[in-house]
Amino acid sequence: MALGNPFQDSLRFERRVPPCAIVIFGAHGDLTRRKLMPALYSLASERRLPPGFALIGTSRSPMSDEQFRDKMRAALTEFPSENPLDEEIWKSFANTLFYVPGDTGDPALYKSIGEKLAEVEKRFETGGNVLFYLSLQPSLYETAAQGIGAAGLAHGNGWRRLVIEKPFGHNLATAIELNEALGRVFPEPSIYRIDHYLGKETVQNIFAFRFANGIFEPIWNRRYISQVQITAAESIGVEGRGAYYEEAGALRDMIQNHLLQILSTIGMEPPAVYEANAVRDERAKLLRSVRIMKPEDVATNAVPGQYGPAHIGGADVPGYRQEPGVKTDSQTVTYAAVTLYVENWRWAGVPFYLRTGKRLPRQVTDIAIHFNAAPHAPFSGGENGTPIDPDLLIIRIQPEEGLSLRFVSKQPGQGMRLRPVSMDFDYGASFGAREPSAYETLLLDAMLGDSTLYIRQDAVEASWTIVEPLLNSWPAQQFEYPNYAAGSWGPKAADEMLARHGHAWRNP
């Protein structure tokens, strides 16, 4: 019996992936072409995939292996990986790609997948390890999982894991139902729920920033922080996904998952060790500490919005209701802002403002930590006697990942004139190395069996519990939409929500 790998060099080598096969359901879909294939090709070209590797794609479209390879190559041309296409590497990678056509509801599909898995296990020495990736409509998750289970594919010579994409249910009840269905086939530790925000380098860097530096933790609490703003703004509209968005809306699409995961990372207690369950315990604990809004609090602590048409940069931009696939009287929210409170000793009384929206002025995701003002300022004020702005820490998730600390400095010259200055850390400028995409990181972690950056079911349920009051309240009302113009920072009511606390949105 062999012990550990004697050639390992943890100081210099990247983490090694065990031999395995990946089965992608929905291999002809958008996510596979845009994200999964470029990420897998990048991993292949950077030698991160093991020599014993194979990928089996499946979808309803009839195709041969060769046609599937051609389509995946075309996808890499259309959505290039950061590593340029190299003929030799592609040739080698393409040889590991296979295709099995079939309907997700048809047991024959799983029989064919089983046969192909047995073939690649022998040919590529994958050790029987299989990662099932459901890049499907969420309504098919249960069917696919049942098919995998009924065909006996959830168990084999090696490990078997299941990766699913958000949304994990449509509300708390359906999230629990889905989990029960998946749980009948895969145990919880084998279920990997992707939130690609958690795979972003800067989100991971929040851990390093908070827990590897001694100077921030002492001030990371209600005594020094007055408010936290989390913004995820998109400048684009629904981009042809009107039908999907009509069902999802901003709450389900962004707040319930991405923004609450960021909130939990910013607010969580330090884990004892950087290991999957220790980290996920703390995240879930934070989410369970969020105060659940009473129905009567929804109007004052949350603002829905929907964008209207505008003329931007010399072009007409349609309103949401003019988008293809959208009802002309749609009540779907394309903007949501909420005020949340975390009820624990660290954060009691500190408002966390979360907002997200489509057709906002620019694409940006960042976190603004507003510190309390100095208890007493002996100076008359800033330039022209204006009040001095409190210190501000900005954590930029995208684009231009990095950190900025704004503080006050004396202007050179006579007298004590003050003005804010910014100290910047730019992730890209400070580290020359290419940052892996979120999907590269997450796919690699799933193959390695590291679920730290994946969401556990208890966190999913806690997140749904937080947004449920809004999901119950908003559809029961008729809002006068549109209530913000495309290209603006959202409805006026969102500004008023903060103004009631004496705060204002910081526009990134």
Partner: protein, 335 residues
């Protein structure tokens, strides 16, 4: 006649340099200049034509590891003079308005005056930050006149990739490594990381690891007429990793594809694993009927140096490998 070089004067010159940079940038650029320094890198180089490329290499490394650079060109001349001037390397990251600058001190010293130079060098390292000493010639890593500097270094970096006599160099390095207690790095070793990763990856499979006791011979293929230091390192690494000095080692000169190491073949009782350059940066791995292709571009000097500067602690694998490589180089089959 050269001027007297004192730490105070160099530090004063550095201060003036920053004042000038700030002043020059102010009228046109309200964002000013950002002074960046995370360590001191002292480069010891023979005063030859190759040394002129050092500022360029350091300029590339600075963007990932901002540092105070001190370049010492060692002249063989008997004139015991020292000469020094300060300058800055600046760059503006893409899309950014603020310029980032690092300090650079360039010193010329006759070998005879190195005892005078050493206290100056020690005094002008950036306080409270790590110090790396990069000896571009292995002989400069073992000079009696610089003992205190070597002792102060958190990393002592050499490069034995292209030295004509790797046998003598590896023997000398093994001695230096013992004296520096794990702080020695060799860019020749750094350049092998991708090759080693590929080998390690193959043996991630526990079933394949079971076959390691049957490894009989390692053939290292190289492009030069005689085996370079990297070839000894690669073979020595396998012997040391398996604690099996009995594994037979052969070195084979093959036609160059990218230069340097061109392949490695692991011969077992019943099969062989071949890892070799196919074309360009592509590497072909053959394990029986299983074939796989991967990429391993040749890293530049700046990339290799950057990798070493990122390592702050000991490198136990290198520490185990160096004596094995030196033994192989000294053995009769080593050439």
């Amino acid at each position: 006649m050269t001027a007297v070089v004192t730490p105070e004067k160099i530090l004063k010159d550095l201060h003036s340099l920053w004042a000038t940079l700030g002043k020059d940038s102010a009228p046109a650029d309200a964002h000013g200049v950002l002074r960046a320094c995370a360590m001191t890198v002292i480069v010891l180089a023979d005063d030859d034509a190759a040394a002129s490329a050092i500022p360029q290499t350091l300029g590339q490394v600075m963007q990932e590891h901002p540092h105070r650079a001190i370049i010492v060109r060692v002249r063989a001349a008997s004139d015991p003079g020292l000469d020094c001037h300060v300058t800055a390397q600046c760059w503006r990251p893409f899309g950014r308005q603020q310029q980032i600058c690092c300090e650079q001190v360039e010193m010329t010293a006759a070998e005879a005056s190195l005892p005078d130079a050493e206290p100056v060098l020690l005094a002008i390292t950036a306080p409270d930050l790590p110090v790396a000493v990069w000896c571009r010639s292995p002989r400069l890593s073992d000079l009696a006149a610089l003992r205190k500097l070597y002792a102060r270094a958190d990393r002592l970096i050499v490069d034995s990739r292209d030295i004509p006599d790797p046998r003598a160099a590896l023997t000398a390095l093994a001695r230096v490594a013992a004296a520096t207690r794990g702080r020695l790095s060799d860019l020749a070793w750094t350049s092998l990381t991708r090759w080693r990763e590929i080998v390690a990856e193959i043996f991630e499979d526990p079933a394949r690891r079971d076959s390691l006791p049957n490894l009989k011979r390692v053939r290292v293929q190289h492009s030069s007429a005689a085996p370079p230091a990297t070839a000894y390192y690669l073979a020595g690494w396998i012997q040391a990793a398996l604690n099996r000095p009995d594994i037979e080692v052969a070195f084979e000169a093959v036609p160059p594809i990218l230069g340097g190491i061109e392949g490695i073949v692991l011969e077992f009782r019943a099969e062989a694993i071949s890892i070799r350059r196919a074309v360009g940066t592509a590497i072909l791995i053959e394990i029986g009927s299983l074939k796989n292709c991967t990429s391993a571009p040749r890293l530049s000097e700046a990339e290799l140096l950057g990798t070493e500067l990122a390592i702050t602690g000991r490198d136990p694998v290198f520490e185990r490998t160096l004596p094995a490589a030196a033994r192989l180089a000294e053995a009769p089959h080593g050439g």
